[in-house]
């Protein structure tokens, strides 16, 4: 066993340990991203299903300039009263292509096609994790 051998062995072991640490970090971030992706999808799907349950007539119009916004923490608990503690922001827009003339608040016309868009953003920042859309119509699904 020479000093050179020990040196090379130490280098190999050091490289391995560095790789493990690096992979640990990579795995952690990837797992977190996956988790965020899962949560974002769940929150978006929940929002879409809630709107479908509310229905064509009773879902309030929410233009892109003033979307309905909800906040959720890592455990998907609502944080609308404390947005600073939130990790996810869910923005919902509902836009009708035809409305009842003069209605206030805006009512969709009977033959309206209502476009619902749900966008889930990671906080802080503005990374869009998920965006889903659907249509609402009279007697639709």
């Amino acid at each position: 066993m020479t000093f050179l051998e020990v040196l090379i062995a130490a280098l190999i072991v050091g490289t391995c340990i560095a790789s493990v640490v690096s992979l640990f970090d990579f795995s952690f971030r990837l797992t977190l991203d996956s988790y965020d992706q899962d949560v974002a999808y769940t929150l978006a799907r929940n929002a879409l299903e809630t709107i479908k349950e509310t229905g064509f007539y009773y879902t309030a119009e929410a233009p892109t300039t003033s979307p309905v916004v909800h906040y959720y923490d890592r455990n998907q608990a609502n944080q609308d009263s404390r947005p600073s503690a939130a990790r996810y922001k869910v923005a919902i827009t509902v836009v009708s292509d035809r409305i009842v003339a003069g209605s206030n608040p805006i009512k969709p016309a009977e033959d309206a096609l209502r476009t619902v868009t749900v966008t889930v953003t990671l906080l802080p920042g503005s990374q869009v994790l998920y965006q889903g859309s659907t249509y609402l119509v009279r007697a639709g699904i």
Binding site: E5, A9, I12, A40, L113, G132, V137
Partner: protein
């Protein structure tokens, strides 16, 4: 000493081999963990896309519902493309949609019940659903419905309990009491001159409602193949006028008479004044009073119309007054009329006509359908459901089934 040297020589490189073995083990672990993480992440993405594809497919179905509700002739059909249907971009992905008949054949032939088949695609994830759909009757419980005309309602004493609908125009000189909504159906419908009197609940539907004409109603009951020459012409000579009390002679009513049900009575003239009335004895069955001939201009001054049984007492014995003439019907007297009044017809060129006016103040328990309805005074119309039904659908929508094709929800 030589033995010791040999032993030391054998131990040389051992630490390197151990380190390399360690590296191999760690590399295998790294590869495994890396693969696991990446696959987990990939699966999360795929699950998300897979679910979003379903949303897109559902959006495609709703899109098609709206499209055929506006105009069923513009339905997206399967066509010759493979895969079938029409492709639309939406929400960052696409959906492909088409209509099919319930037996699976294409193209869909409106207005029959149908399937809407839609495929949503996002980032390579694809899901297809098949949803059953059908046409729905136009909304509205119409006490009065007018078609392509300008109907003028005078004063504020008119009372309508139910909805008012029109494919044409309404002109109110006062503020009639309407205990329901006003439906403007189709692009031509609205207030005459754009003058909205205000104070009413207005609803607008994109399509005019289609109704059978009196001639068609007569032909439905008495088809030419079975009852030549069929329809109103058949009724002119084959009716129950002789069963009336007293019998109706010369297709003319100028004195009080009782019509007995079941029966189809045909007249070309009704001219009643004073206490002379037509009574409807529908205890034995429904009564239809037909006023002809089609396009005629005879007098029809109607009084009476009180039925022995109201529609609520016996819905199957309801009474109808069908007016096929251009001169229409004048509702005189103040009696209660338990009947639907149907005055809508077309000439050979397709021009629509049919007229209802009141010179008395009757209370009508039923419905009024006419090309034009001009009313005034203290007339009251109370809606009775299901006496008159349109021939067109108001819109299309979900019926009763939703299945995923080639998917987990099939």
């Amino acid at each position: 000493m030589r033995h010791l040297d040999r032993q030391i020589r054998r131990q040389r490189g051992g630490v390197l081999i151990s380190a390399l073995a360690f590296m191999v083990v760690i590399s295998l672990l790294l590869a495994g963990i890396g693969t696991l993480c990446v696959s987990y992440y990939g699966r999360a993405r795929t699950d998300s896309d897979y679910a979003a594809a379903l949303s897109l497919a559902e959006a495609g179905v709703n899109f098609e519902f709206r499209k055929i509700s506006l105009d069923e002739t513009t339905a997206d059909q399967a066509g010759a493309s493979n895969p079938p249907g029409v492709l639309y971009n939406f929400g960052g992905g696409t959906f492909r949609v088409y209509c099919a008949n319930r037996d699976g054949s294409t193209p869909w032939k409106p207005p029959s019940n149908l399937y809407v088949i839609a495929t949503g695609t996002l980032n390579g994830a694809t899901r297809t659903i098949q949803v059953s759909a059908k046409g729905y009757a136009p909304p509205g419980n119409y006490a009065i419905y007018t078609l392509n005309s300008i109907s003028v309602w005078h004063g504020s004493a008119v009372v309508v309990v139910g909805d008012v609908g029109t494919n044409g125009q309404l002109d109110f000189t006062g503020h009639p009491g309407i205990q329901g909504s006003i439906y403007f159906n189709g692009p031509s419908a609205g207030w005459y001159g754009g003058l909205d009197p205000g104070g009413y609940t207005e609803l607008r539907e994109p399509r005019p409602i289609q109704w059978e004409t009196v001639d068609q109603k007569a032909l439905d009951l008495f088809p030419a193949s079975t009852y030549p020459p069929g329809g109103m012409a058949y009724l002119a000579t084959n009716n129950d006028n002789a069963r009336a009390t007293p019998p109706i002679v010369g297709n003319s009513i100028t004195n009080s008479v009782t019509l007995h049900g079941p029966g189809n009575y045909y007249v070309t003239n009704i001219n009643l004044a004073g206490n002379k009335t037509i009574d409807l004895d529908n205890t034995g069955g429904p009564i239809n009073l037909w006023v002809g001939p089609s396009g005629g201009t005879g007098t029809c001054r109607f009084r009476g119309g009180t039925a022995a049984l109201t529609a609520s007492q016996n819905p199957s014995n309801v009474c109808h007054i069908y007016v096929a003439t251009k001169s229409g019907i004048d509702l005189a007297g103040n009696q209660r009329i338990d009947a639907a009044i149907y005055a809508y017809n077309k000439d050979s060129l397709g021009n629509e006509y049919g007229y209802v006016v009141n010179s008395g103040n009757p209370t009508i328990n039923g419905q009024i359908l006419a090309n034009q309805v001009d009313i005034n005074g203290n007339i009251t119309v109370n809606y009775v459901p299901d006496l008159i039904k349109p021939t067109s659908f108001g819109y299309y929508g979900f019926d009763n089934s939703w299945v995923e094709i080639n998917g987990v929800n099939q």
